[in-house]
């Protein structure tokens, strides 16, 4: 199973080498095989006697982060969707993307995305899940921005990334909370210890953070705004990411945690109301769109809202319908995206106002679209899978028996069936609009950039397979129910869910009446849409989340650039001052808070005259370097400080130091004298008095700080000195008498080795700098 998840990543490394031969063979053929293999591998698990499988691979055991893969019904559903649709989309992309595109990049991103999606739905370890989760955001950013020369692509990619990564971070917060509360990183164990989380005082926060992650990923209102802009991606990407996979990651997350969360009233209130609002808003907005993919984007938003609200209901029927609809939505929406891609490819535009009457030119595509749209609309016909799940949705909204009837919960419960019908009416309208607007009516061939004709057969194969799925699921729902959907639903509900899917329940079956209501009102609204279209000018009007997002991003960019420009003016002196001031403030504050400054006058060495004399000389010399304006004087008195220091080393019984310091100081002074001749003369200080004052304050402050640290370090003995080890073992282990030398070449030999390396690098740099031809010589 580890190999199945990592296979896309491994292949992604190879793709760049393969794409060298892209003139001969399209790399898409090669890529198609990968998800197909993964699909076959996981399809073996299908069957009515399926049992969850768990595989563990050690990764970072010390942090309790391991590659734990848990395959239950829910994961199986998603894995098969990801790999199945992935194979179809990869195959479709062979005909959609021309060889002149940067195919290497595209398929690398594609495989990265697929691998991380598989990781998300299979991981049982929350931190592994989170890593894969962010990886999907990242790779979808790259996929959406694939045509990065287009401004809209870059905008859409950035927007989707900002919103989903924001959600990802809040998800991380929830995961950390839950890990700390339950002391485990496994999702299954968290669910088995759910009382610890449910009864915690942090529960509302955890719920909010978790749902924020799910809602942003699954484009729920009001975070849905990134999805329409993400339509700038190449159509295969939209078909893959925005119908079957990435946007369903949020659904997956909610479904995965619903055995734990669904017992909470707040879960019902938030998830079902956000879901139902998204359903209504998405379908309402979809009718207004003029771009085919725009319609599909809002349609996806609304369908996701529908699934989300059903997960919120949490009843057996609702969960079953939600899982069923995840599958159905992937089939019809995937094929519709591909249809939109074909229309774009063959007619040169996706603008529905220019399209029309294409049925005669693209008969096969039109047939596919007919099935896809009608399934989406939930037209009551026995060979459309969309109808089944739509009817189950109505059924679920009517039978919320497990939910209490009081307060807010009761109010929402009462509203749900009406809102469900309302949203579905608009779903019907835009579905019909999509089909009739594109394929029926008068054709305006002169407005199209290309003369339309039927797509090549390769491009049609993938949508045909998906539409066959729509029809087969519609005709024989039993085939997938027992071995597949029932397991997934049971995994979400946490207990056995068995549900028979029927087409016909009799005339007076309430959901059927709701479906027929939708049909009637939908037709009326579609026919009269020109009359009521002005309503869009009032809602959403100015109340658009997009404006909020744009304003926020704009503001952030302006502020951060103002702030950065405020202190980054290119003057190195200023940067040094800022760094030093920061060190000063932090250290002094820390000292003041912790009471770190201590003075202990016991155990001091006695004061002797020679030391005082040397010290005074050094102070005078050090101050002299500042006061003098003569280069030679400055260099020589720097030498005085150095020699003074070596005298101190002698006094403090450090013969090696004294010797080294003496040699080094001599060489340094010589070096200074060699170079200074080439440097400009020292100037009088021409700075403003305020700058000089500031420099003085910083330097005196820093000196005072170092003195205080030195005194405190001497006065407080928190730990035993480790020096006795060296004193005892110098001869025993190092075989030498001079402790300092033994420490350098033996105990800390590696240190010294690197020191030599540093000196070597410095020497090479110096040599290079001297030999480097200057500007003047070049001319």
């Amino acid at each position: 199973m580890l190999l199945a998840v990592l296979l896309p990543f491994i292949i992604a490394i190879i793709i760049p080498f393969l794409s060298k031969w892209k003139d001969k063979i399209h790399p898409g053929y090669f890529v198609t095989i990968i998800p197909a293999l993964i699909f076959i591998y996981f399809a073996r698990f299908l069957g009515s006697n399926f049992e969850p499988v768990m595989r563990e691979y050690s990764w970072i055991p010390s942090l309790d982060i391991n590659m734990v893969f848990y395959l239950d019904g829910l994961s199986l559903l998603f894995v098969l969707l990801i790999s199945g649709i992935g194979a179809l989309v990869a195959f479709y992309s062979i005909f959609y993307l021309h060889k002149s595109e940067q195919l290497g990049h595209f398929y690398v991103y594609f495989l990265l995305f697929m691998g991380s999606m598989l990781g998300v739905v299979l991981s049982d370890n929350v931190f592994v899940l989170y890593s894969f989760w962010e990886f999907t955001s990242l790779s979808s950013f790259l996929l959406i921005g694939f045509w990065n020369y287009k401004k809209e692509s870059r905008y859409g990619a950035l927007k989707s990334m900002l919103i989903t990564v924001f959600g990802g971070l809040s998800l991380l917060g929830a995961l950390v909370f839950m890990t700390v509360l339950t002391n485990t990183t496994s999702i299954q164990e968290m669910i088995s210890q759910q009382q610890l989380i449910l009864n915690s005082e942090y529960f509302p926060l955890i719920l909010a953070l978790l749902l924020l992650g799910a809602f942003t990923k699954s484009a729920q209102f009001p975070f849905h705004i990134w999805l329409p802009d993400a339509m700038e991606a190449p159509t295969p990407v939209s078909a893959y990411l925005h119908s079957a996979t990435m946007v369903k990651a949020g659904i997956y997350l909610v479904a995965r945690y619903s055995p734990m969360l669904s017992s909470s009233d707040w879960f019902f209130i938030i998830v079902s109301s956000v879901g139902i609002i998204t359903l209504c808003w998405g379908s309402y907005m979809a009718v207004r769109q003029t771009d085919l993919k725009g319609i599909l984007a809002f349609s996806t938003i609304s369908q996701l809202g529908m699934i989300m609200s059903m997960l919120g209901f949490g009843t057996k029927v609702a969960v079953f319908a939600a899982v069923f609809h995840i599958l159905n939505h992937a089939t019809f929406k995937g094929s519709l995206f591909m249809v939109a891609g074909i229309v774009d490819h063959e007619a040169g535009t996706r603008d529905i106002r220019k399209l029309g009457g294409l049925m005669t030119y693209l008969p096969i595509t039109a047939t596919l679209a007919l099935f896809g749209t009608f399934s989406m609309a939930g037209v009551p016909l026995p060979f459309l899978n969309g109808f089944y799940s739509k009817e189950l949705f109505f059924d679920a909204s009517l039978h919320l028996d497990e939910i209490a009837n009081v307060g807010v919960v009761g109010f929402i419960k009462m509203l749900l069936p009406y809102l469900a019908v309302f949203g579905s009416i608009f779903t019907f309208v835009y579905s019909v609009y999509f089909f009739f607007g594109t394929f029926r009516g008068k054709s305006h061939l002169e407005e199209l950039p290309k003369k339309p004709h039927e797509a090549p057969i390769g491009m049609l194969i993938s949508p045909i397979i998906l539409i066959l799925g729509v029809i087969l699921i519609g005709l024989f729902p039993k085939w997938i129910n027992e071995p597949f959907i029932a397991h997934a639903a049971s995994a979400v509900k946490g207990l056995e869910v068995q549900k028979e899917i029927y087409f016909w329940h009799g005339f007076l079956y309430p959901p059927l009446i709701m479906s027929i209501t939708v049909l009637v009102f939908g037709t009326v609204l579609y026919l009269s849409r020109k009359q009521w279209a002005p309503v869009y000018r009032i809602i959403p009007g100015v109340l658009s989340m997009n404006k909020f997002y744009d304003g926020l991003v704009d503001r952030l960019e302006t502020y951060s650039s103002t702030v950065t420009k405020g202190y980054m003016n290119g003057s190195l002196g200023r940067y040094v001052r800022l760094v030093l001031a920061a060190i000063l403030i932090v250290t002094f504050a820390f000292m003041a808070i912790t009471g770190g400054f201590t003075v202990d006058t016991s155990n001091l060495a006695d004061v002797s005259l020679p030391e005082i004399f040397v010290a005074i000389t050094m102070v005078i010399a050090a101050v002299g370097t500042i006061l003098t304006n003569n280069r030679i004087t400055a260099i020589l008195i720097l030498g005085v400080v150095g020699y003074g220091l070596s005298m101190l080393f002698v006094l403090y019984r450090a013969p090696d130091l004294a010797l080294t310091q003496l040699i080094i100081e001599t060489v340094t002074v010589a070096l200074f004298l060699l170079v200074f001749y080439h440097l400009p003369k020292l100037r009088k200080k021409e700075e403003a008095a305020s700058t000089r004052m500031l420099n003085l304050i910083i330097s005196v402050g820093f000196g005072a700080m170092m003195t205080m640290i030195a005194i405190s370090a001497h006065s407080s003995k928190w730990f035993e000195s480790i020096s006795s080890y060296f004193i005892d073992n110098t001869y025993k282990l190092g075989g030498g008498d001079n402790m300092v030398n033994v420490i350098l070449v033996d105990f800390r030999g590696l240190d010294t080795l690197f020191e030599i390396v540093v000196l070597g690098i410095a020497a090479m740099a110096i040599y290079g700098l001297i030999r480097l031809p200057g500007k003047k010589e070049e001319k």
Binding site: G573, A622, G642, L657, P680, T707, M739, V740, G774
Partner: protein, 112 residues
């Protein structure tokens, strides 16, 4: 005595930093030299001064000065020599190529 040495180290730091904040490259290099002197004294002071004989094993001597700070300082002296010489050559090249050794004028291209 340690306190006096601590104050001396502090003064070395003060003068070093003050030089570092000047505009001329030569002053800045002098500043780094002073700072490294200060740092060496600082490390030495953190151990105990004059508590025993020099750290060379001798018959009959039990009490030695702490050898660890000395080893650290020895490394540091050599490294700071490398740094100083590199800085000097860098300053030489910079003033030759750019015609100035004033740091305020040596900024990235964005600010020209």
């Amino acid at each position: 005595m340690e306190f006096i040495m601590a104050i001396l180290a502090g003064i070395l730091f003060t003068t070093g930093i003050y030089n570092l904040l000047q505009k001329q490259l030569l002053r800045i290099i002098i500043g780094t030299g002073l700072i490294s002197h200060g740092a060496h004294l600082f490390i030495l002071t953190m151990g105990e001064l004059k508590t025993g004989k020099p750290p060379i094993l001798t018959e009959g001597v039990e009490n030695y000065t702490d050898p660890l700070p000395q080893a650290l300082i020895l490394t540091s002296i050599v490294i700071s020599f490398g740094v100083t010489s590199l800085l000097l050559v860098l300053a030489y090249r910079a003033s030759q190529v750019n015609g100035t050794d004033n740091m305020e004028q040596l900024r990235g291209n964005d600010y020209e």
